[in-house]
Structures are given as structure tokens and as C-alpha cells.
Amino acid sequence: MIYREAGQFKTSYRQDAAIFPILQDRIAIWFYLFVAFIVIPTFGSDFFINSMMIPFLIFAMASIGLNVLTGYTGQISLGTGAFMGVGAYACYKLTTYFPETNIIILVLLSGFFAAGIGMIFGLPSLRIKGFYLVVTTLAAQFFLEWCFIRVPWLYNYNASGAIEVPQREAFGLIVTGPSASPSVRYLVVLSIVVFLTWIVSNLIHGRIGRTWMMIRDMDIAAELIGVRPLYAKLSAFAVSSYVAGVAGAMLVFFWLGAAEVESFDVNHSFLILFMVIIGGLGSLVGSFLGAAFIWMLPIIIRAVPKMTGLDINASTVEQLNFMIIGALIIVFLIIEPHGLARLWAIAKQKLRIWPFPH
């Protein structure tokens, strides 16, 4: 309905290859960015920013990471939590050694450690597929979890066994630690997420993204065309783990403030996987939608009974949340295996051809 595409024609491949070729989509993106960068920090309450927006963005980032691997390259992984952990611990060590360095740079650097580890655990993917790969990623998950506990060097030999985020400044603002304001942390997270999403989107729309999808859709044909599975798969593991690692670092530094191994356990791997499935495999928009959905759902489940005057205790909410998410996963896989992103795309298509139904 809102689309007015008549007269939007492309006279060069450059225009045609734009990521948002439709004017209205470009306007929409600027609008979302305006809301995210200006409206929310200005009008959002601390609770909203801290408990909803920041974790939503961080999980969306992690979902994008997993989506690169699972959605775009077709390699299923249950090790996202651990790769996030690698990023978090790496960032912690980095800021220990380089306390003066801008923490944002360190967060971005820490992703490279995750990428390296990810590539190592991605190696078996060259020989094995499907469920078999699930096992190797689980190996990564459990091995890394074990490292986070058993290698005290990683948490600077803290008695608590946890990493605690020190106060760090960037651009003259306190961005980490207990005295950093939610808005500042939010803006930092948002900037990183927007930047990395842009980068990933660039990759996906280019040659590299295409080789990933070739591997996903038909690996044998891809190989016969000349894609080297080694490069394609390892680059997917690297990019995926990098993004997950940065998400992990952000999770600890800009949200939790302190973390133990539990923040990166296999349940988080599942959580991210669910975000990707419900959001939509192979869709960046889907990663945001999925993260929003899974993250907001418990908040809504908590809020709804309160509004209707029912008193439900916290553990019941948690259990209901599990059941609903589990059921939704199944429902989505049955009805719409491509998740919210497909619904989004259908809605968009409907708007484009409105008032026609198809």
C-alpha cells in the first residue's frame, strides 16, 4: 500500500544491485535508524533501554552470527554460546592488558579470537554434514565451557570464577562498568550492531555470500562449479564466530557487567538457534525479528497476567515460556519454516501489490 514503485527504474547495474533498490525501503531504513538512534535514547526509560533494547540488540547480533552459518551456509551449530564466550573472555583479557585502549575497539578485536576458534572447530565441517556437524559444534561448546571454568587465567584468577567488567571510557564517556548510563551503553551497542549488520549484509550480497548459499543449497554442484568448500565453509565459520564473539563481548561489557560460564552455556546456544529459526533462516531481518520475539516473549508473559490481576510466580512464567517457545518452534516449522522473515516478506509483497492479493 505504501509502495509507489512506478517510475523507479534502474539505469545502471549499480542502482540495480543496491541492497534496498526501492525508494520506500530506503526511507523506511532511515526511519528505523532515526527511531533507534534518536527517539529511543531520548524518550525510552532506563528499564526499557536496559532490559529490552540492549539485550535485544545483542541477541540479534548473535543471531546474525548463527544465521550466517546455519541460515546462509547450511551448517547447523549448537556452539554459538561458547563462541560468544570466547569473545567475552578475549575482550576481558584484552582490556586487562590494554586498559587504556578504547573498549569499543577491543570489543571489535575480541571477535577475531572467536573467529579463530570457530575456524578450528569448523574444520570437521569439510568432511561431515548435518547431525554429525551438530556433534562437533557440541564438542566446541562443552570443551570451551570447560576451559572457561578450568583455565583461571581467563578470569584473572578471580575467586568468584567470574569476569567482572571494569569501568572503561570511550570518547570521554563512561561506557562500561556500573556507572555507565544505559543510554550510552545502548548507543554503543546499537552502533556496533548497525555497523556489523551492514558488513554482514555486504558479504551476503556479494560473491562470498553467494558461495555460502551455493554450499547450503547444493554443495556438490557448488564444488563442481569451482567453489572450494574449504574456503566457503571456513569463511562462514569465521564470520559467524566473529559476529557471535562480538555479541558475547557486548553481552558482558555492555549489559551483564559480570559473567560466569552460565552465560555462555549450551542453553544459550539453543536460545540463539531458536531466534534464528523463528526469525527465519537466511534472513538478516529475521534475526532481528527472532531476537525481538524470543526476548520479548517472557516479558510479555510476565506482563499479561499482571495486567489481568493474576498472580503467577516467576518460575511458572519461566516454564510457560519454555513451553510456548518449544510449541512455537514446532508450529513455525510446520506452518512457515522460513520464520517471521517470510511473514515479513509476504507482508511486504502484499503491500507492494496492494490492493491485489497476489
Partner: protein
Amino acid sequence: MNAAAPQPYTTEDGREIGGVLMEMKNITLKFGGVTAIKGISFDIQEGEIRAIIGPNGAGKTSMLNVINGFYHPQEGEIVFRGETRSRMRPYEAAKQGISRTFQNVALFQGMTTLDNIMAGRTLKMHRNFLWQLLRYGPALDEEIEHRRKVEEVIDFLEIEHIRRTPVGQLPYGLQKRVELGRALAAEPSLLLLDEPMAGMNVEEKEDMSRFILDVNEQMGTTIALIEHDMGVVMDLADRVVVLDYGKKIADGPPGEVQSNQDVIDAYLGVPH
């Protein structure tokens, strides 16, 4: 039956067929205890359309798989462009300019026609990861340059109207055409077609025949194809090699092969 010695020749329609592009020497391929190909030799000459025919299970597809390195023969040699090797590797084959289509369409179902054909140009794209990250400058220039080539293929195959359609939604005949497009996008020197007309109606077959001839004629591409439809083979091929139960039973121009008694027996199912 002795294979015709690889001599340059001129086809009926006046194309000059040059020297040998590829030669298979005494190829034997086994799977476990099953021998799929038994000591087959034949050659493919530059610029010709070479057909490989035979009844079901004759080892035709296995032969193509050997040519482009998907299967590795236990015995024999492959000479391609003067280089002798005991086996091809898929990546090497692709790099050397061998591209192919598949018996059961092997397209990337989740991608659009455009992306599928772009995929065919993967080997020709070289911009590094860092440029790809930014999708700017050289990376975008390269993308656009290849898009232009891809559009020529789309134009050639007359599939403009499905440019943005995910191939999974296309009817079978069009999928086959897109697959041919993907192979052509690589600008191959040897194009392998595995039953390009299987499952098509008469009209689609005619279209496909025209495209194959046009490819051969306009781009000078050497083509090796497997086909069931004898009529099509007789129309298209310059030379035909006939396989039966993994053995070569005839090799020569279509007319000659057609009248060969072994070939007739094989097709009629006369027991050995």
C-alpha cells in the same frame, strides 16, 4: 569397432572441427565390486558436439562424472588440453573450463535465476575479502562487470522474465534452461550436458536443441552431451559414442552409429 582416429574434420554445416580437446584413455571405474566403466577410450575434439548414448545403466553419467573429476577412475588416463593425468579434481576441472549440467537439475533452489547464473561465474571473481566486506570500490565494480556477462547469458537464453524468481518456483523446463545458463556463465571450453532434454515436452526440446546448437555455433563451445532421445542426438551430434554395460560398443558419426548392429541390439535389449 575401432574409434575413428582423431582427425580434424568439417561438419555438414561447415564448421571446422579442430584437434583433440580431451581424450579418455582406457578408463575403468569401479564402485566396490561393481564395475561401472570398463576400459573405455574416446576423444572429444575442439568445437564439436559429441554425444554419449546408451541404454540405462550403461555408465554414461559415470563417464561425465569422471570427466569433471567427481569420480576418480581406478585405471586409465585423462588427457585434457595436452595435459595427462590419472584423475581430474572438480575444482581443477572447473578451473580448466569444464562446466556441466546435471541429469536431475542441480540448481541452488533458494537463490534467484540471476544469482544462480552469477554463481556460474564464481571462479572468475577474485576481489578479496576486505573489499567484499565493504561491497564498495573494486568488489562492486567486479560484481557489476560480471552482472553484465550474466545478463548476456540471460538474454541469450531468453529468460528475462524470470530473472528475479527463486528457481525453486520455476517449472522444470525453465529450470533446465537456467542450469544451462549457469554452466554457460563460466564461459566453458568444454560443456558437459547430462540429459539436457529429459522430462521436457516437444516445444521445450526444440528450444533446448536450438540453444545447444547456438552455443556451439556462436560461442564455439565444445559440447559433450548425454541424451536418451535418439532423434535429438542424430540432429545435434557431430559424433556419437555408444556405451552399453560400461563398455564402448560404437563410435562415429550419427548415421554410421545408427546402423551399427551392436547398437541396435543394445537398444532392443538383445542378451549378450
